[in-house]
């Protein structure tokens, strides 16, 4: 091992080597419904991968780019799902409004919880993220009359999209829904990419690199931790809203800390120093979950072994490993 780190592992300048991998990633994603069947996939699985990819990329804004441990990201994923579900179940049959409400729920919680946590560091911050996550879980679990409690929020379906007189039926057409999910993913990751290359994004990377230096350059560290947390919950709640639309269903397990752990595994598996790493991690994780769980109930042990191997031998994640080989 040499000490030379791969330049361009940072969002600060993905453009330097970004030209090559971007078309590949988007070609693979756009063609997913056509090649997925050959590896045992289907439209809904492709949607699931993209949704968890977005959730993990949102988490990675904290984990990989700001250098903050968060083990409670499922709360904002779940709140996004319930927010979307509430609109469809109780209010109007509109997919865009459902997504907006999901974002509102998740991000509002991020604003409040983030403000309470921003002065804590390290393990204390991580413990608080779990605690707040579990609070959300138990509220969803116990508030039967509104959330449906243990059984989850049922009795809604995603609505077709209306563009004037033109209707896109994402409700019954799984293929169309996948492309809808992919479009939302594209907009979200586009915003994320621009943010990370901006002065604001660079302050987050500065926090990851050296908090003392950041403070003594005049960056109010706590305020930027808060901003990073809010941004991260924003993106994860978009994924949560899409998840409710995918399943036509929202249940407390979406808020449970197991999902938080899965999102961390996805980010680490794919490579948290890489913008697209968590998406790769999510693809591997979700596909393995689907494939191995049809063979054995112990699918988690396979994920566990793969995770250990990756952490031990490719600490920069799968994508970090591929990039290093090709560099």
């Amino acid at each position: 091992m040499s000490t030379t780190t791969v330049p361009g592992t940072l969002a600060a300048k993905p453009a330097a080597r970004g030209w090559l991998h971007l078309p590949i990633i988007w070609a693979v994603l756009l063609a997913a419904p056509y090649w997925m069947p050959f590896v045992g996939g289907y439209d809904a699985l492709a949607s699931r991968i993209v949704i968890f990819g977005l959730a993990a990329m949102g988490l990675n804004l904290l984990l990989g780019f700001t250098g903050i441990m968060s083990f409670g990201q499922a709360a904002y994923f779940g709140l996004g799902a319930y927010g979307a579900g509430f609109v469809l179940r109780y209010w109007v049959h509109s997919t865009p409004l459902a997504i907006l409400c999901g974002i509102l729920f998740g991000t509002a919680a991020g604003v409040v919880f983030g403000a309470l946590m921003m002065r804590r560091t390290g393990i204390y911050f991580a413990m608080l993220t779990i605690a707040f996550g579990q609070i959300c879980y138990y509220i969803a679990y116990s508030w039967n009359s509104v959330t449906g409690g243990y059984d989850g929020l049922r009795g809604f379906t995603r609505a077709p999209l209306h563009f004037g007189s033109y209707v896109l039926d994402i409700r019954t057409n799984g293929l169309l829904f996948y492309y809808f999910v992919l479009a939302v993913f594209a907009i979200s990751t586009g915003i994320m990419g621009v943010l990370l290359r901006s002065p604001l994004g660079r302050t987050l990377i500065a926090l990851r690199e050296n908090r003392v230096r950041a403070r003594f350059l005049g960056i109010p560290v706590e305020q930027h931790v808060w901003i990073s947390f809010i941004l991260s919950t924003f993106f994860t709640s978009i994924a949560g809203a899409l998840y409710a639309l995918l399943n036509n269903f929202a249940d407390p397990t979406a808020l449970f800390y197991v999902i938080s752990g899965n999102l961390v595994i996805m980010a680490v598996l794919g490579g948290m120093l890489n913008f697209w790493g968590p998406l790769i991690g999510a693809a591997v994780f979700v596909w393995l979950e689907d494939f191995i769980s049809s063979q054995t109930v112990n699918w988690m042990s396979f994920i566990g072994v793969i995770f250990v191997v990756v952490v031990l031998f490719f600490p920069r994640g799968l994508l970090g490993f591929i990039r290093r080989r090709s560099a």
Binding site: T3, T4, T5, P7, T9, L10, A12, K13, V194, L195, S198, P199, L200, G201, R202, T203, I205, A206, E209, N210, V212, R213, A214, R215, F216, L217, G218, I219, P220, H224, I227
Partner: protein, 249 residues
């Protein structure tokens, strides 16, 4: 008026008095050195001035304004910049990016999710200017964590310069360096002081560096101000000689 004024600054940690009733003033354009044996409270004094922690008693003024209670971030906004005994940089970013973050923050862009073309050009200009001043242009695109110790120090100073500070505070800028690197960093400090007219206050162990560069020297021992004056006055001061060389038995 003095640029930096400290009046009766005291810092205690439990029963330990790390800095005891120290008063000093630094004039604009001056290069002030603080020397003293190990454990004399030099770095603690530095930390009081830069707001790393508040003093137990005493007052600190920057340009006549009382900053005793101001946070570190506020002091930097008001024109302070500092480096650390152990170099504090963003190791996995390039030299340019390190300076860029400093420049963008100082120019008030730290919350901006995008920049106009004009603003981007202004940032780039400040980065280039800073890199030239610190002779780091050729290292601009290398990861700062991979540079030599001397260049990392220069990079840390570059980040401070990108803030366009009114006073530059350097904590042992040549700590842990060999001849060559000490020469390099001392040369940089001299240029900044003589050519650019920066007001600089530094803590330093290397006496050659101190007596070559400083306009005035302050000597601390056991947290107390022992002597203050020009390099010649300090060199001739019997109390200083005793503190450094020990008294004849």
């Amino acid at each position: 008026m003095s640029l930096l004024q400290v009046r009766g600054a005291t810092k205690t940690f439990g029963s330990l008095v790390a800095v005891n009733d120290v008063t000093l003033s630094v004039e604009p354009g001056e290069l002030r050195a603080i020397i003293g044996p190990n454990g004399a409270g030099k770095t603690t004094f530095f930390n009081l001035v830069t707001g790393f922690f508040p003093p137990s008693s005493g007052q600190i003024f920057l340009d006549g304004k009382d900053i005793t209670q101001a946070s570190a971030v506020d002091r930097i906004r008001m024109g302070m910049a500092r480096t650390f005994q152990i170099t504090q940089i963003f190791p996995e970013l390039s030299t340019r990016e390190n300076v860029q973050i400093a420049a963008e923050t100082a120019m008030g862009f730290r919350m901006r999710p995008w920049l106009s073309r004009a603003n981007r050009a202004a940032v780039a200009e400040r980065i280039d200017e800073t890199l030239v001043a610190t002779r780091l242009t050729e290292q601009a695109d290398r990861l700062v964590g991979e540079l030599s110790h001397g260049d990392q120090r220069s990079a840390e100073i570059a980040m401070s310069l990108a803030l366009k500070p009114r006073i530059l505070l350097l904590d042992e800028p040549t700590a842990g360096m060999g001849e060559q690197e000490t020469f390099q960093v001392a040369g940089l400090i001299r240029r900044l002081h003589k050519h650019t007219g920066y007001t600089i206050m530094l803590v330093e162990h290397d006496m050659r560096v101190v007596f070559n560069l400083a306009d005035r020297i302050m000597v601390l021992t056991e947290g107390t101000l022992l002597a203050e004056g020009t390099p010649d006055e300090i060199a001739a001061n019997p109390a200083v000689q005793a503190a450094y060389l020990g008294t004849a038995e």
